[in-house]
């Protein structure tokens, strides 16, 4: 697994991982969704869709061109998110 050594990282560094950087199929949980700017309807919608603290999340695949968009499993649902959207989601990879 990629993140076997994860627990050696200080917590702040671990939490800096974004959904767009998460390796495929690695288990993780959502920490929070960052808003870009004052009113960010995309961030708001992401929270409505279930990207909220503590939700297990996984990246399952990526598109054929420039590895975009990402196929993301959240809750019982699969969404296609562009990298720019996935970047707003901060995640914590699960301990191996």
């Amino acid at each position: 697994m990629y993140y076997e050594n994860d627990s050696y990282l200080p917590f702040e560094l671990r939490s800096l991982m974004r959904l767009s950087e998460l390796p495929h199929h690695a288990a993780a949980t959502v920490l929070h969704v960052e808003s870009a700017g004052e009113i960010d309807s995309i961030a708001h919608r992401l929270r409505d869709l279930g990207f909220v603290q503590g939700e297990p999340v996984r990246v399952l695949a990526h598109g054929p061109f420039r590895r975009d968009p990402l196929l993301v499993q959240i809750g019982f649902t699969r969404f296609a998110l562009r990298r720019a959207e996935a970047q707003r989601v901060h995640v914590e990879p699960a301990q191996a």
Partner: protein, 622 residues
């Protein structure tokens, strides 16, 4: 009609119960609506099928009338696109001309409760009586999902009924519930409470789920969304579709062709010579008959479209192509509206309502007419049949199918190019969201597919029977009168009004290789594309001096036109906006005549340019 409704009294007091179906996209609202009211609204397996409210009624067992509203699906009351705004406004009682419903039926997908229950909790805040319809119970049972409905009902404070919208009698429990007294208002949840936390508790208390996803979905997505396999499969699938349109349809078309020819001969031997015979044989039978021949091809195309829609593959295709579309200034969300435009640009342009960003939406609307709609199929098929030899290439590919595929590709490439240009012109580099849900795969139901095909067939035949027939008759009149002078030498049509118009236009279209017969056909063809085929048939039937009533269009044009002219006409039809309904729907969706003008202008411009290039190049080469 559009007056705001002043009376806030629940209409239940007047005897009619007013119910609205609300819920997340793709939860089965429209399927329920159809089952309850006997309507036939479009149901398909992707988010954002319904984009406007639809009304229906039915009589409950007690005899009471229930009025049902089907609404666009939405993830939250915080609307981000025009279709979602409709649902929000109806629920809040702010929709012009629509009283606030007496009761909300929240439709949730029982296999997707984590997402769908959150919206139910959000809806509790607006203070209407509610019923929860746990839809897709069949799929949930198959996946071993157990739901304690009594407990869920008690915890939510609203009645909960199980439904299977796609099964006969699958909505009986819901009807019984609607027929009973209105349930009490659910207690509004604490405004500060985190809805997600509440959903989590509801799920752990009332639901047991062996697996969060269906195994089959995981397996299929691994292959179908694989970066290289996925694209290969998509290409093969599209390719196969257009091959099938040609190779499967041939025997059926021959049958219809023979039938039309036989009727023509029978009528012309029965009737004495004169205007009536000419109207029937040259006008109606030659004109309408020439279009009806293409029914099998249209049905085969729709067979594929319907199966793709119901399978859940379409959003996957959008996933695969998103990046390409972004490069062109569109979004993956444009994919489904554009794909619907392969059937017909009108619903395609309406489906653009699901696109949040207004600029993306406008770009999608403006390029949708470039997608090869099914009304182009008769024109393409006629010209391909007449000029492209029926040959097999590489032991596999039907040459005619290849050319058709190339025409579809030409439309797509043109759409991407135009979108790219628009993006470059407006110098836009703001961010556009995708956020597209990928639904579970479903096996299309043969019965539903047959109903869908039947509907398509009736729509097509109605078009033939109404607009195409009447324009053909009109054209026959214009092409037969005024009658030629006594000392006329040429065919009668040369002296008629239509003949003169054709000759006048020929001047404009000579550089692109169109003869006067084509010019005549293009004029009524402005109303609808297929009319060009029937019009050509009528013009040639009238112009032919021989008495052979079964003189068919295809052999005539293949002997009289040059290949360059045929290719040029094909190129014209890739672009030209020969469809009044498309322009009308663009006007309605953009609220702007300017956009209509821009669309028509650029499409005609491209059409002329493409035909000119095609004709001149083809003439050099042949």
């Amino acid at each position: 009609m559009n007056a705001p409704v002043s009376d806030s009294m629940p209409s239940a007091l007047h005897g009619v119960l007013h119910v609205a179906l609300v819920g997340n996209p793709n939860s089965g609202k429209t399927a329920l609506f159809n089952r309850l009211t006997g309507s036939r609204q479009k149901v398909a397996n992707y988010a954002g099928v319904t984009v406007e409210r639809k009304e229906g009624r039915f009589a409950a067992p007690s005899g009471r009338t229930i009025r049902v509203l089907d609404l666009p699906g939405t993830y939250s009351l915080n609307a981000t696109s025009p279709d979602e705004a409709v649902t929000r406004d109806v629920c809040m009682g702010r929709f012009d001309g629509e009283a606030r419903p007496d009761l909300l039926v929240c439709v949730v997908d029982a296999t997707n409760l984590r997402l769908h229950l959150r919206f139910v909790l959000e809806l509790k805040q607006i203070g209407l009586p509610m019923v929860l319809a746990l839809n897709m119970c069949d799929v949930a049972a198959r996946r071993g999902i157990l739901i304690d409905t009594d407990k869920l009902s008690q915890r939510l404070g609203m009645p909960v009924v199980e439904t299977i919208a796609v099964k006969h009698r699958g909505t009986e429990a819901l009807v019984r519930q609607l027929d009973a007294a209105l349930p009490d208002l659910p207690l509004a949840p604490d405004a500060n409470a985190d809805l997600h936390v509440q959903v989590g508790r509801l799920l752990s208390d009332c639901v047991s789920i062996p697996r969060r996803t269906a195994q089959i979905d995981d397996a299929l997505d691994r292959v179908l969304l694989h970066p290289s396999w996925g694209l290969a499969i998509l290409t093969v699938l599209m390719f196969f579709m257009f091959q099938a349109v040609f190779s499967w349809a041939a025997p059926l078309m021959d049958g219809i062709d023979a039938g039309v020819g036989w009727i023509g001969t029978a009528v012309s031997t029965l009737l004495p010579d004169g205007p009536l015979k000419s109207l029937l044989v040259d006008g109606i039978i030659a004109g309408a008959g020439s279009v009806i021949i293409f029914l099998p091809q249209i049905l085969i195309l729709f067979l594929f479209i319907l199966m793709l829609e119901e399978s859940g593959y379409l959003p996957r295709a959008a996933f695969l192509l998103d990046r390409l579309m972004v490069g062109a200034g569109l979004t993956g969300r444009s994919f489904i509206p554009l794909l619907s435009s392969f059937a017909c640009a009108v619903p395609g342009i309406m489906a653009a309502r699901t696109i949040q960003d207004p600029r993306d939406r406008l770009a999608t609307i403006l390029v949708a007419p470039l997608m090869t709609c099914s009304a182009r199929l008769p024109v393409y098929a006629l010209l391909i049949g007449a000029f492209i030899p029926q040959r097999t290439i590489g032991g596999w590919f039907n040459l005619q199918g290849l050319v058709l595929f190339a025409l579809y590709i030409a439309g797509i490439v043109a759409a991407l190019g135009v979108a790219w240009l628009m993006k470059a012109l407006r110098k836009d580099d703001t961010e556009h969201a995708l956020l597209l849900e990928l639904p579970s795969y479903r096996i299309p139901h043969p019965f539903d597919i047959s109903i869908g095909l039947w509907e398509r067939a009736t729509i097509f035949l109605k078009r033939v029977g109404t607009i195409i027939l009447s324009l053909t008759v009109l054209l026959w009149v214009l092409s037969s009168f005024p009658a030629p002078p006594a000392d006329a030498t040429g065919a009668a049509i040369e002296y008629s009004l239509a003949g003169r118009i054709g000759h006048a236009l020929e001047w404009v279209f000579a550089p692109v290789g169109f003869n006067w017969q084509i010019c005549i056909a293009l004029v009524p063809g402005l109303a609808a594309r297929e009319v060009a085929v029937s019009a050509l048939a009528t013009v040639y039937a009238l112009a032919s001096t021989s008495d052979d009533a079964s003189a068919q269009l295809l052999p005539i044009i293949s002997s009289q036109w040059s290949l360059a002219t045929a290719l040029s006409l094909l190129a014209w039809y890739v672009f030209a906006p020969q469809c009044i309904s498309t322009l009308a729907v663009i006007r309605r969706e953009t609220q702007s005549w300017k956009m209509v003008g821009i669309t028509a202008g650029y499409l005609f411009g491209l059409a002329y340019l493409a035909s000119l290039l095609t004709y001149q190049i083809a003439r050099l080469l042949t």
